[in-house]
């Protein structure tokens, strides 16, 4: 066939006519990158997170009658019923591997959004790469406050950060003091990466503002073979409240060492992480009766919102565990992202970002005790109200704030 002007025109017309079909075909699937530790010391976090994201995926891609974003109907109606597909990447708790894997997700796997990361230290690099490629990133379960204060445009966090969590703790202390509890001195015990450091800085500031004395502030090396020297110092300080910010391994070792060295604090108020993990309670739960941890999730909520129980059952079938503070935030992270992509009606990074900025999901449409999901100009949801949970009789009950509480706090612990 000769290439004539007419043929070229015809071809162009045909191509133009095919265009929309091609575009639709392209979006029959929405690919989201999920980056977690799947090997190394926190591999179990990744394994649990994967089950949680798969639960959220089932809610989105299949038809359910829950009042959750995208639960009704299959796939994303805004993109012609496109299904969401997840690509999992392993960052091994290493910020540099997180950087490389995010780059791979974006350039090779062509993901249109990224969710991560468990460790805040890794979220720092992952979010920087996302920013560079203009790919929206949802920090599902990272709690370091410094994360959203870096002026990134593609960074979003639906869950509370440690300042909000810590403020809830100090509000609780204030309330307990009014009731006559003796809470004057605090011992901080925190690991040495960004999670522990940010947590401790926030707690130091809040303690100074509200007139609590810091008896000791111990920064320790994470995954240490021994914590006896650290526990010895906590014991010497003997504060009214011990406030640990530790991941699971250190949490287990801390509690074991405390028992061995005969240190029984009046109360432990923990910054989640390891202290929300089933593995920790399986190992040393008998020594933790009455421990209080901050959280953004409580199964109690199922009494008010039955779908929480239903979604939890879906997750439990996959993982053999109940939702905890981390897995619930991961679950919501994907729902929030998918809901925005659906509204954006596009897989373009900038359009998704605009949709995220406009997000406004009422609290009742989440499985969390949050007021709603709405991001401020830094990408932080300030309406994600934290709760405090106390470990009583082998399970967690909500004790604070009063509007969410279903039980009175047991104070001191024992």
């Amino acid at each position: 066939m000769n290439i004539t002007r007419r043929n070229v025109l015809l071809g162009a017309t045909a191509a133009a006519a095919l265009g929309p079909i091609a575009a639709r075909a392209q979006t029959s699937e929405v690919v989201i990158g999920v980056i977690y530790p799947f090997s190394g010391a926190s591999a179990q976090m990744g394994v649990d997170a994967q089950k949680s994201f798969e639960t959220a995926l089932e809610v989105i891609n299949k038809n359910h009658d829950f009042d959750l974003p995208l639960a009704k109907g299959e796939g994303l109606p805004g993109l012609g019923g496109a299904k969401v597909r997840l690509v999992f990447a392993d960052h091994q708790a290493d910020p540099q591997k997180g950087r490389a894997e995010t780059e791979r997700l974006i350039t090779q796997e062509k993901v249109c959004a990224v969710i991560g990361t468990y460790q805040s230290a890794v979220a720092v690099t992952v979010s920087q790469i996302c920013e560079r490629y203009q790919i929206p990133f949802i920090s599902a379960d990272n709690s370091s406050p410094s994360l959203h204060r870096r002026g990134l445009k593609f960074y979003f966090r639906a869950a509370p950060h440690d300042e909000m969590f810590s403020a809830a703790m100090f509000n609780f202390f204030d309330a307990m003091k009014k009731k006559g509890a003796k809470i004057d001195t605090l011992s901080l015990f925190h690991e040495d990466t960004i999670f522990g450091t940010d947590s401790a800085n926030t707690q130091l500031k809040l303690a100074a503002d509200r007139g609590y004395k810091i008896a000791t502030d111990i920064k320790y090396r994470s995954n240490s073979p021994s914590l006896s020297a650290e526990v010895q110092q906590l014991k010497t300080a003997n504060a009214d409240v011990l406030m640990p910010s530790s991941y699971t391994t250190d949490g287990i070792l801390l509690v074991k060492t405390m028992a061995e060295l005969g240190y029984k604090p009046n109360a432990i108020v923990a910054q989640d992480a390891g202290f929300s993990e089933k593995a920790l309670y399986d190992a040393v739960g008998d020594k933790l009766e009455g421990v209080i941890s901050r959280g953004s999730f409580s199964l109690d909520l199922a009494a008010k919102r039955p779908m929480v129980g239903k979604v939890n059952a879906m997750f439990k079938e996959k993982s053999g565990k109940d939702f905890n503070d981390l897995t619930s935030r991961q679950f919501m992270g994907l729902l929030v992202m998918a809901e925005a992509i659906n509204r954006a009606k596009s897989t373009d990074g900038e359009k998704i970002r605009e949709a995220l900025v406009a997000t406004d999901i009422p609290g009742e449409q989440t499985i969390m005790p949050w007021k709603r999901v709405k991001f401020d100009e830094m990408g932080q949801n300030n309406d994600a109200d934290p709760v405090l949970l106390q470990y009583i009789g082998g399970k967690f009950v909500t004790i604070f704030p009063p509007q969410a509480a279903i039980a009175e706090a047991v104070w001191p612990m024992k």
Binding site: G46, K219, S228, A229, Q232, T236, E277, D286, K287
Partner: protein, 292 residues
Amino acid sequence: MTAETIIQSLASGLLMGLLYGLIAVGLALIFGLMDVVNFAHGEFLMIAMYATFFLFAFFAIDPLLSAPLVAAALFVFGAVVYLLIVRFAVRAKANAGMVQIFSTFGLAIVMRGLAQYFFTPDYRSVTHSWLGGKTVSVAGIFLPVPQLVGALVAIAAFGALYLFINRTDFGRALEATREDAGAVALVGIDKNKVFALGWGLGAALVGLSGAVMAIFFYIYPDVGASFALIAYVTVALGGFGSVFGAFAGGIIVGLVEATTALLLPPSLKAVGIYAVYLLVVFVRPRGLFGSM
């Protein structure tokens, strides 16, 4: 800082140090015997801990009882690793050093991967045992019984190893082979048997440490990594190849760690260990008790 705090820290450091020593002795033994560094040493510790855990979880065998079983199993495992992998690695004609490093390093990665695949990365622990959670208190100083027993086991194991090397034919063959592997062949000693025995013994010792540690430490596929690093420093500090040096090195590392945590912020306690190590290699490059 009270006297009580200082004594408590030193006591904790000593108990931990004896255990570090026990972990490192196996590494030193193998190195002394055939100049091979076992980079899978931490993973040997890890499977010993898992073995102890599963014997506890499925058969309710207390770690104290399973310790000899685990040590025996690790003995076999160590010998098999030598016969199946290391024996061939040391025979490599080109880049022999590299081949040795990568064979045991590769083994470490495979073992870690398999552990994660079969046992899941979840954290396990022996929830109740005869010793677990028990503590004796002497004049306000707390000595956790699991660590105390671990320390006694370490001393006993080291004593037994010492007698074995010095008083038995096998031990003499071991010594002779480490001094001159070529010459022993002339007197009819099978070098391979002695090496296999050495690997078995080294693995059994770390197996014993794993069993004892399972009482008070958590267990997961990567648990060996942090202990292995300390074991390498311990061996280098004590003197490469010296079994006695490794044991003494362990005690020093334990005490230095505890003292550093007392004087500096605890996040820097590893700095003390490495500072002492640097000092030692600076003034005495072969290590404190090294004879090379």
